[in-house]
């Protein structure tokens, strides 16, 4: 099956990753896959306000996912938070928290801001991938990076890196996956649409492989920042 943009079912869109793109932030990264561009900026650890949200045992991770008003396909995205963005902020937090060790920073907060300047499906995955790089760039203790890939099913076939048109077509299934490579554990798995048990297993196998490819890109981008010219 050829896809709408001429890719093979297991082919990703072109990828670009860069670390340290926002000088003001303690850590930052950009991740682009096809037409989806995510920027992540990390601030902190810093004092947490409101104070009742402080945790005296460890630092708190706080993520904000946001699509910019002009980021869609010409239709203006309403600025500000929505039910959807709040949900994605929470799943992003949950995807990143297992690798992050904040026990050295009691009562503090680590803010991760994910902004999407351009969207063409797979935004939460691009956001998580960028955020993991930004956290590493900020110098946090992490068990590993988190790599993420949006998998899916369309007309009975498993597809990698779903694009906007595929995402919106009838009967499409959307499965974002995030992987912690060194533990071989999945930290994000959502499902939107019908899929059989066997297919889901197959999809996860392919998804893990694709996440490892993303992982390599992340590692290279982080090392590139300190490369001597």
């Amino acid at each position: 099956m050829k896809r709408t943009d001429g890719r093979n079912p297991d082919q990703m869109r072109p990828i670009k990753a860069e670390v340290g793109v926002i000088p003001n932030a303690d850590g930052s990264a950009m991740f682009q896959i096809g037409n989806t561009i995510a920027y992540a900026a990390v601030y902190g650890p810093r004092e947490m306000y409101p104070r009742f949200m402080q945790d005296p045992k460890k630092g708190v991770l706080r993520c904000v996912y946001n699509m910019m008003p002009f980021s869609g396909h010409g239709e203006r995205v309403r600025p500000g938070g929505s039910r959807r963005s709040k949900e994605i902020s929470v799943v992003t937090e949950n995807a990143l928290r297992p690798v992050l060790d904040l026990s050295d920073y009691p009562n503090s907060v680590v803010d991760v801001f994910i902004e999407l300047t351009q969207t063409d499906a797979g935004t939460r995955c691009a956001g998580i991938t960028a955020a993991a790089m930004a956290l590493a760039d900020a110098g946090f203790k992490m068990k590993d990076l988190v790599a993420s890939m949006s998998m899916g099913m369309l007309s009975g076939e498993i597809i990698t890196d779903v694009n906007g048109t595929e995402d919106c077509s009838l009967g499409a299934t959307d499965v974002p996956v995030a992987l912690i490579p060194c533990m071989d554990k999945i930290s994000l798995l959502q499902l939107d649409g019908p899929i059989s048990r066997e297919n889901l297993k197959k999809l996860l196998e392919t998804g893990k492989k694709k996440c490892l490819e993303i992982y390599k890109v992340q590692q290279e981008a982080l090392k590139k920042k300190y490369k001597v010219d």
Binding site: A136, G139, P181
Partner: protein, 252 residues
């Protein structure tokens, strides 16, 4: 089992990267062991000393440590002291008792000692598990910083700004004629003529951006000379032998 090293000395490691396999290698700071593998926990530069692998972090915020001399900013005046911003997630408290040996009248206006926005050079005396920080002004050189300017660098780059046995900061002081104080929290105070301050600030920013590369002292020296200031030839400390010779006149 054979031990296998997967990274070279002075290379950059990213979190989750496998650095070595086999029980022959010993993990040090910033590295953990999982089964027989050594895995990096942080972004940083790898330093291999024999069988010990260490990770030197390149980024991150400052975390207060007892004994550190830091430059802090007064952000609040309390009932019995001052609250200082240490440029970390945790603010420090300077109590009246540790601030001055003068007698302070009950209800006196504390801003006449340290006003809001003042920078002070202080020493951390205590840090609790919950990161409550106490600082003191009692000690040689600890004082309020008047005039000059403050430059911020990453706290992990401070050792490079200071240099081996203070060589870098001595060179900067001598070349620019500025008075320079380096706080462990990455705040640096420079005081001198405006022109010299600008050169010193530029040099410090250059040190920060090239801290992980070798040959730093030579490059900074060249930079300073290009800026039109004279750098005295490096004063090598005479080895102990020669000093002995001087004292004894070469006789045994």
């Amino acid at each position: 089992m054979t031990d296998k090293l997967k990274i070279k000395n002075k290379e950059i490691a990213v979190p989750g990267e496998v650095l070595a396999e086999g029980m022959g290698y010993v993990p040090s700071r910033g590295i953990r062991r999982a089964d027989d593998k050594l895995i990096a926990e942080q972004l940083g530069m790898i330093s291999i000393e024999g069988k010990v692998i260490k990770l030197i972090p390149l980024t991150g915020v400052y975390i207060p440590k007892v004994g550190d001399k830091i430059i802090a900013k007064v952000i609040d005046v309390l009932m019995t002291g001052w609250r200082l911003d240490t440029r970390s997630p945790y603010s420090a408290v300077l109590s009246m008792k540790d601030a001055t040996s003068e007698f302070i009248q009950r209800g006196a206006d504390l801003t006449q000692y340290f006003a809001l926005g003042d920078f002070v050079l202080t020493k951390i005396t205590n840090v609790t598990s919950q990161k409550l920080v106490d600082v003191s002004m009692k000690g040689p050189g600890l004082r309020k910083l008047r005039g000059g300017r403050i430059v911020k660098v990453n706290p992990h780059k401070v050792p490079r700004v200071i240099g081996k046995e203070g060589s870098m900061v001595v060179m900067l002081k001598q070349a620019t004629g500025c008075n320079i104080m380096v706080g462990q929290n990455g705040l640096i105070w420079i005081d001198g003529t405006p022109e010299a301050e600008v050169i010193a600030e530029k040099a410090i920013i250059k040190i920060e951006s090239e801290a992980h590369l070798s040959g730093l002292t030579d490059r900074i020296k060249a930079f300073l000379e290009k800026q039109g200031v004279k750098v005295a030839p490096e004063q090598k400390k005479a080895p102990v032998k020669e000093i002995k010779k001087k004292i004894t006149g070469g006789k045994k």
